[in-house]
Symmetry: C2
Amino acid sequence: MANTVAPYLCCKDAPSALDFYKRAFEAIETLRWPDATGRISHAEFKIGEAGIMLADEHPEIGFLSPQTLGGTPVLLVLTVPDADAFFTRAVSAGAKAIKPVVDQPYGRRSGQLEDPFGHRWDVGSPIEPAHS
Amino acid sequence: MANTVAPYLCCKDAPSALDFYKRAFEAIETLRWPDATGRISHAEFKIGEAGIMLADEHPEIGFLSPQTLGGTPVLLVLTVPDADAFFTRAVSAGAKAIKPVVDQPYGRRSGQLEDPFGHRWDVGSPIEPAHS
């Protein structure tokens, strides 16, 4: 079997975060386990084939959101067929543009976003590397 | 093309983090761009086929480590062929066991680790789901 790594995001108000990812990133919700209060114990969604998990804060196990921590130490590098269209749609839906989408010299056309829940995304598409 | 998502980790003392991942997770370093001071501007490694990036802190762009933030809002869900062997090796190399490796009812045998740089990992292998 092949090794994989997938991010599991902590979000304050995870139901709203899931709604946001569906609207802004065209995410498809594949699983949601709410608790008795509507808080999300565990959810899964896909952006195309890329699988991501999320849950509400669980302070009792030290699972805290970027809003509570004051930032995130993990940038989520998302590769999509059309970074420009993805970026524009996400910003229209309320994501904050950190760096605009531009051609990078290393064969990627990409920009950076911060979503309303404090997670940071590098969104890019492959391009031909620049000649040096 | 298929969408992908890959984590990009901020680590305080990224050269030591990269050494740790090589020793503890059998990571293969595939790229390292040091700056003039030896700080890592950008590095890439693989755990089997799973690609991960990392860099030192860059406070000027708000890229801060779990140690500086006081935690992480992203759990890294790593699927490997032998979670028990992976977990044992990682703990021997200095990772902290948060939850031991056990059979989960949802078809995964997994445990949780915190590495010495503050990133959290769920390490698991597929198993047959339990019958309900």
